[in-house]
Symmetry: C2
Subunit: 158 residues, 2 copies
Amino acid sequence: METRMMNHLIDGLKRAGLRLTPQRVAICRLLAESKDHPTASMIYHALLPQFPTLSLATVYKTLDVLKRLGLVQSLGDAGDGCEHYDADLTPHINLVCVRCHRVSDYVEEAIQQVEQRVAERSGYEIQGARIVYYGLCPTCRNGEKTPQIEEQSSGGVR
Amino acid sequence: METRMMNHLIDGLKRAGLRLTPQRVAICRLLAESKDHPTASMIYHALLPQFPTLSLATVYKTLDVLKRLGLVQSLGDAGDGCEHYDADLTPHINLVCVRCHRVSDYVEEAIQQVEQRVAERSGYEIQGARIVYYGLCPTCRNGEKTPQIEEQSSGGVR
DNA sequence: ATGCATGCAAACTCTTTGCAAACGC
DNA sequence: GCGTTTGCAAAGAGTTTGCATGCAT
């Protein structure tokens, strides 16, 4: 399942005539396998042990390439000030915890119909969507595990 | 209608015991009246003629205050790299044009039910939502009115 | 062998912060 | 008059860019 998605990304690069460097392959694998919608920095730090000379710039450039090819979507920041990326392009909802800044997925079938209706009624040529609900995840809701100054009273992201 | 919303913002500041400076009032009015989900910079430039000494920092600080009070929501960037703000907190969909970076509203009743279901099934305490569809607006779709280098092939926001 | 990709460092942009002067209450 | 808010300048943070070296094809 994850290898399937990873191959999709890699094939996409190949099809575009781009080179399959070890760094790119590793970034693709990470994106395909991770469930936590990583940021450029998260990817960078995760791969550093494997690629001691890896550069953040390379991560950004690769993400940019994948984005332009339509293989990856940027989700916006999750209150932490950085862009999160998602290789899962099927219509789904992202849940952002405003306290721990974790992002998770939520499957909602009705979304597909909404998109279609929006397209019809607005006249937009829809290329993508970003459906994010933010609030407190079940964990942060109960336990005050991560005691930290609660600043985002509005829940506004960023 | 717009004055109603403006009063809501101003009352919010007053209720919080904050001061109503001319700058804050002007920013509130702009947020309440404008339909285009302005960025800090847009607000700044719009008010500069009226307040020649206005500072961008003041705009940011005011937006931050309004956000913390839950009177205004940040929508994330619209492909232009800056945060857009919305004083309309009712559940609705934002449409972002990836070419002209304009943001418009779209009313969808079904959204309310979706939110409720998400809350029930995810265990999240939902504080807000950001539902954005991005693509080409009717204007940019036909006319090449705003000729500019098309870079965002993926439609990724930012 | 060719030219795209990497990695370093510097540059950029949006946003935030510190602090003295100004002003709302 | 007191204490918040403004505005300027400088700092901060994430992201992007330029360019020489390295590597996939």
